[in-house]
């Protein structure tokens, strides 16, 4: 009897320890989740707090006297003549009239810098659209220059000594005057979503890179998904078992998944551009290179998904007289689809954030025009972020963060679509 009691005591004592161990493990688990969330939160807060000012942009209202004689055009000029005239003069004259008595060369230059360079082109487009405006005085809202914009957002401290500021005292006076006349206004920054890249921060937009990313991803998707899935299906369902060649291929696919991405860039440069003559910097070649990169991921994930379909499904189909192909495509693949899609999305998300292989094929470039097709030169979002972060102008800092936000949004949308598709294909048995 007493011996039995002793046993229960040991078990009880041990039980306490075991409970404690479980508690401890749970605590560490929760702690690691908490830490990862904390990091994510810090990252997101940091990016959002830096990036949200970029969604606003300062505009300046100018009453421009559209005197055609100053720039040598009239209402009857041909569109070509209207196009070639230098509208900058009209804006310069307007500014001169608003702020008379600016003589100093340096100050004259600074005066021009209140308004973005794009103002002249905006004016040109408006006049070509409606030449009847010539001869009248019209109010226009123009983009303000980046320095004015940065000041309006409170990133330039006017209490600092003058030498330490990018906006000097005389410029402050001008801005104050404009503010007093309600000629400065912060609005939603539509340019950021409708323009391509620019070296002037106020004119720079993410659209070029966004479309570039989209086109590149489409090419990648169109190639890597079917090739990857078919390869996985063959290897899993049709390839002979215990064959040396199949083993070699399997090992190589696993190795490929671990190859640094820049290597694929070099390969792309040599094969696609060097041998096949695909144009440099085009989304097509970017998509091809990223296809090489995502293929192993998709194949490995798809194989795992196909493997996890219970053999009973196959046996049942075969037992009812379905052929191997019918079994595979009618039963196994639909059931494996959610897993396949997960793998594809992981691969695509990797490809979306990639810059290294694109460096070799010329997609790390200044491209101002929004690409129209997969053969136009273009860049992608991570590259745009990198290029902006490397620009000296202060106003690009916030645009860098804003671009990161757009990239994250793009990823979220992509994942969301994947989740929807997965839900649609999911089957219980």
């Amino acid at each position: 009897m007493s011996k039995q009691y002793k046993n229960t005591d040991t078990i009880r004592a041990g039980l306490k320890k075991r409970y404690a161990r479980e508690k401890r493990f749970q605590f560490f688990g929760i702690a690691s989740i908490f830490i990862s969330f904390l990091f994510l939160l810090v990252l997101l807060v940091n990016i959002f707090s830096q990036g949200y000012p970029a969604f606003q942009q300062t505009y300046v209202k100018l009453d421009v006297k559209l005197d055609g004689s100053v720039i040598g055009v009239s209402k009857d000029s041909s569109p070509e003549e209207l196009f070639k005239a230098s509208y900058g003069k009209l804006i310069k004259n307007t500014l001169k009239e608003m702020f008379p008595g600016v003589k100093d060369r340096k100050k004259k230059r600074a005066l021009k810098q209140l308004v973005s360079k794009s103002a002249a082109y905006d004016l040109r487009d408006k006049i070509i659209e409606n030449p009847a405006l010539l001869g009248t005085t019209q109010s226009f809202w123009f983009l303000a220059k980046d320095d004015v914009d940065v000041f309006m957002k409170g990133d330039i401290d006017r209490t600092l000594p003058e030498a330490d500021r990018r906006i000097k005292d005389f410029q402050l006076k001008w801005i104050d005057k404009l503010l007093a006349e309600n000629r400065l206004e912060k609005r939603f920054n539509t340019t950021f979503f409708t323009a391509g890249d620019s070296r002037e921060p106020e004119q720079a937009g993410i659209k070029g890179a966004l479309i570039g990313s989209l086109l590149t991803m489409l090419v990648t998707m169109a190639l890597s998904f079917p090739i990857g899935v078919l390869a996985a299906i063959y290897l899993e369902e049709f390839a002979p078992q215990n064959n040396r060649w199949v083993d070699i291929i399997e090992i190589n696919i696993n190795n490929l998944a671990a190859v640094p991405s820049i290597v694929f860039g070099l390969l792309g440069l040599a094969v696609f551009i060097g041998f096949f003559g695909v144009p440099r910097s085009a989304p097509l070649v970017g998509g091809l290179v990223l296809t090489l990169m995502t293929l192993p991921t998709i194949i490995i994930a798809s194989r795992a998904a196909i493997k996890s379909v219970p053999p009973s499904i196959r046996e049942a189909a075969l037992g009812l007289g379905a052929s191997k192909v019918q079994t595979t495509f009618g039963h196994v693949v639909p059931l494996a689809m959610p897993g396949i899609l997960t793998g594809t999305i992981i691969g695509m998300a990797q490809a979306l954030g990639e810059t290294a292989p694109l460096l070799m094929i010329g997609m790390v470039a200044f491209v101002a025009d929004v690409p129209q097709g997969i053969l136009d030169p273009s860049t992608v979002m991570p590259v745009q972020i990198y290029l902006w972060s490397d620009s000296p102008e202060r106003a690009f800092t916030e645009r860098t963060s804003a671009a990161i936000m757009v990239l994250i949004a793009f990823l979220v949308v992509m994942n969301f679509i994947a989740v929807l598709l997965r839900k649609k294909f999911e089957r219980k048995w």
């Binding site: 096949f276 010329g362 997969i374 000296p392 202060r394």
Partner: protein, 366 residues
Amino acid sequence: MKTIKLSLMAMSIATVLTTVPASAASRDHINIVGSSTVYPFATVVAETYGNKSGKKTPKIESTGSGGGMKLFCAGAGIDTPDITNASRRIKMSEFKKCQKNGVKDIVEVQIGFDGIAIANAKSAPEFKLTRKDIFMALAKEVPGKEAGKLIANPYKTWKDVNPSLPATKIEVLGPPPTSGTRDAFAELALEGGCKKFDWIKQIKSDSKAAKKAGDKAKAKELKHKYKAICHTIREDGAYVEAGENDNLIVEKLTKNPNALGVFGFSFLDQNSDKVKGASVDGVAVTFDTVADGSYPVSRPLFFYVKKAHVGKVPGIKEFVAEFTNEEAWGDEGYLTDKGLIPLSEEKRKEIAKNAKDLVPLDLKAE
């Protein structure tokens, strides 16, 4: 089943697409590669050209001067770049390679200067450096007391290098070896200080003498020795490679007032509220001192045009004209707003004329 059909269709479309571009032999946009230092200037010009002409904006890749030359000289085909930017002059070896690959006529256009600033935080004490100080503080090996002997760099603080400097630890943030700025810094600042030692200078003149005498191997060996002494930067932590991102260096300087940073003048210009430049050899780094050449750590910037492509790719002439326009590269031009230091007016006129006439470069004649 539907998905499979769809994906098969997508695949066949994709294969069709891949076979198309082989026929896309002509190009409607200018293709530019080259130096990351010239990149900010070339991009502004490209944009202005695009806006003014209504044509496609040139595509500009930042590949570094050497990488740009390699692509540029790869051949005269339409798939090679039309223009390459460089933060140094084309080398004889590159020129020869160009010629060998059928790129016969190259037009050289110098666009201005770029100063390399050595700066620290606004709150930190002012630095008055000489090139010799820079060399002694940053070279891997420095001349010891005995002439002709090198010792591993023993200096820990700036005061050890030069008693008139502050007693702060030597800590310089600068670009990595892949950067053209680093090359130029080594060549202009370090070598400039290195040459102040007579026996080191002697190595260079010996090398030249050997070359004249026809002893090529010896000349090469001496030249390498000279370069190894003058261009090798210490690796014991005093020089910190801060990556190619100059904004990051500026950011780090404001957080660490004891450190100095090395970057292009345009970054100093844009961040004058955060950092200030040190004077070198008694000359402060300003727009004017770089322009007149009195600030010693500055270099010329170029771009090179492939003459064979003029006429084949639309707009090259107009682009060159926009670049060499007073509105762009003049004393008051928009490029100076971006930090380019202009050439003298005479020189601008001469270069603009040569560029307009597309006078090809002949390196042998010089």
